[in-house]
């Protein structure tokens, strides 16, 4: 039986279409994926991401112990700062991709993917030397307000000065009277906040955010828009774009693997792979023929299968077909061409720079008459 977030009834009442995702009954859309996607890019959208998990490291050895399980370098992460990275096995395979919120060297919160709540906790708990590791996933709800209007809306509800909370920084404070971790993080490519709060207070906070955002036409947004928004940014999705069998180097996450930071689980395997060169690489591509690439479609070169599409959609912002695919390293360079097999037809594709989407540059002040 699928789990429900504290906001389930609120979603149903709002007319959301509910689907099962990673063992959770979640809203996939309210009015429509394209509407919600556009609202986030232009104004702001409110997401329930309470299905995400939280694992907390505490104690004198908390930092040291998490540092040995995380590919990025937490010594470079200040208190009050968040850092993205991977948890890896000895083989270099990815257990999960996570965001670590460093409250202090003795108190770090790891935000994990919904499907991996138990797996990550077991892994972290089993490998953490000397730290107190708790699975606090049921103790937190999470609301994400994302979009250019997000900061103005949250600011109406809190005494926290949000201008002092930079990107990938966080603080604690009350929002609409609800005690929250207020983090300037997200998964959409827009400015915005993720608010971690007690589950019982989540419905009230949800209502307050929508009410405060009425003038900005903030709308609730579902997993459908969350997926198209993240894919336009080429943000990886665990379980689709990577898993225990893929390494961060193959997944294009080499920028969060700090081989020189000291020992960590997976370091040797990753160092060897870096030395030898990755056999395959996750690349962003667009189709130059009609069609929409989908997870699981084959990548063809000279008619032979050589790779696999892991994510694909028609980008609502760009109105073109975009996707991520594992291809042999020689095909990974920008401008390389291959085909994607769509229902037996070979649709031409080209490797492009990611993110696919970048924000339109605001007109410089004074430039226009």
């Amino acid at each position: 039986m699928a789990q429900r977030t504290p906001l389930y009834d609120v979603h149903v009442k709002a007319g959301a279409r509910i689907v099962e995702f990673a063992g959770w009954e979640m809203p996939v859309q309210y009015t429509g994926i394209l509407d919600e996607h556009e609202a986030v890019r232009r104004r702001a959208g409110l997401f329930d991401v309470s299905h995400m998990g939280e694992v907390v490291f505490r104690g004198p050895k908390a930092l040291e112990s998490l540092q040995r399980l995380f590919t990025n370098d937490l010594s470079k992460c200040a208190d009050g700062q968040a850092m993205y990275g991977c948890l890896c096995r000895d083989t270099g395979g990815i257990v999960d991709d996570v965001v670590v919120y460093r409250r202090s060297a003795t108190d770090l919160l790891v935000c994990v993917n919904a499907a991996n709540r138990q797996k990550d906790f077991d892994w972290l708990h089993g490998h953490a030397a000397g730290a107190d590791v708790q699975n606090e996933s049921d103790a937190w709800a999470q609301l994400a307000l994302q979009g250019p209007a997000a900061a103005a809306v949250v600011q109406k509800l809190t005494a926290v000065r949000l201008t002092s909370v930079g990107t990938y920084r966080f603080t604690t404070g009350e929002v609409a009277g609800v005690p929250c971790i207020v983090a300037r993080t997200g998964y959409t490519g827009e400015d915005g906040f993720e608010l971690f709060c007690p589950p019982g207070r989540a419905p009230a906070l949800w209502g307050s955010l929508l009410e405060a955002g009425a003038a900005e036409r903030v709308v609730p947004a579902g997993l459908g828009a969350r997926d198209s928004l993240r894919l336009e940014m080429a943000y990886r999705l665990y379980g689709s774009d990577m898993d225990d069998e893929t390494t961060p180097l193959e997944a294009g996450l080499g920028w969060v693997v700090k081989l020189d930071k000291g020992g960590f689980v997976g370091r040797e395997a990753l160092a060897r792979q870096k030395e030898a060169g990755v056999p395959r690489k996750l690349v962003g591509f667009t189709l130059t023929d009609p069609g929409i690439p989908r997870h699981g479609y084959r990548v063809l070169r000279d008619g032979q299968p050589v790779g696999l599409v892991t994510s694909g959609t028609r980008s609502p912002s760009l109105e073109i077909a975009v996707g991520l695919a594992y291809v042999p390293a020689p095909l990974a360079a920008e401008g390389s061409t291959f085909a994607v097999e769509i229902r037996g037809r070979a649709a031409a594709a080209r490797v492009v720079k990611t993110p696919f989407y970048s924000k339109p540059k605001p007109a410089s002040p004074g430039a226009a008459p």
Partner: protein, 129 residues
């Protein structure tokens, strides 16, 4: 949800409007709603020969891929080509502007196997249970 009286329906959620020996075909209000925003279509060419129950095209929304099934057998005599460039029309007006193909029926008796609006509604209720 709207299911016009002058149409006949399939269990795969296509509709069929009979005009003499021709059948105009599209997908139902229920189908477009279930799919969500339609963003891509593949339709057959004029002259293609369809067999009842076999796929004649594909409709894709942001999230889903769905086959289109021929409600009757026959030859495709007209295709709503502009729809390919404006697939959102399928959501906005599934029964008029959103029609997909016209088929010259080879066996009009097949129409008897289609559902009237009441039977289609009943089928949807059963499917939802």
């Amino acid at each position: 949800m709207n299911f016009p009286d002058d149409l006949q329906y399939t269990r795969e959620h296509e509709w069929c409007r009979v005009k003499g020996g021709r059948a105009v075909v599209g997908i139902t209000d229920h189908a477009q709603d279930a799919l969500g925003d339609v963003v891509y279509l593949e339709l057959p060419k004029v002259g293609d020969v369809l067999k009842k129950g076999e796929t004649f095209g594909v409709v894709e929304s942001t999230k889903a891929v769905s086959d289109l099934f021929a409600p009757v057998s026959g030859k495709v005599v007209e295709v709503n080509d502009p729809l390919v460039d404006a697939p959102e029309t399928v959501n906005e007006d599934p029964y008029e502007e959103g029609w997909m193909i016209q088929v010259e029926m080879s066996d009009p008796k097949e129409l008897k196997e289609l559902l009237d609006p009441a039977a289609y509604r009943k089928f949807l209720e059963e499917e939802a249970e």
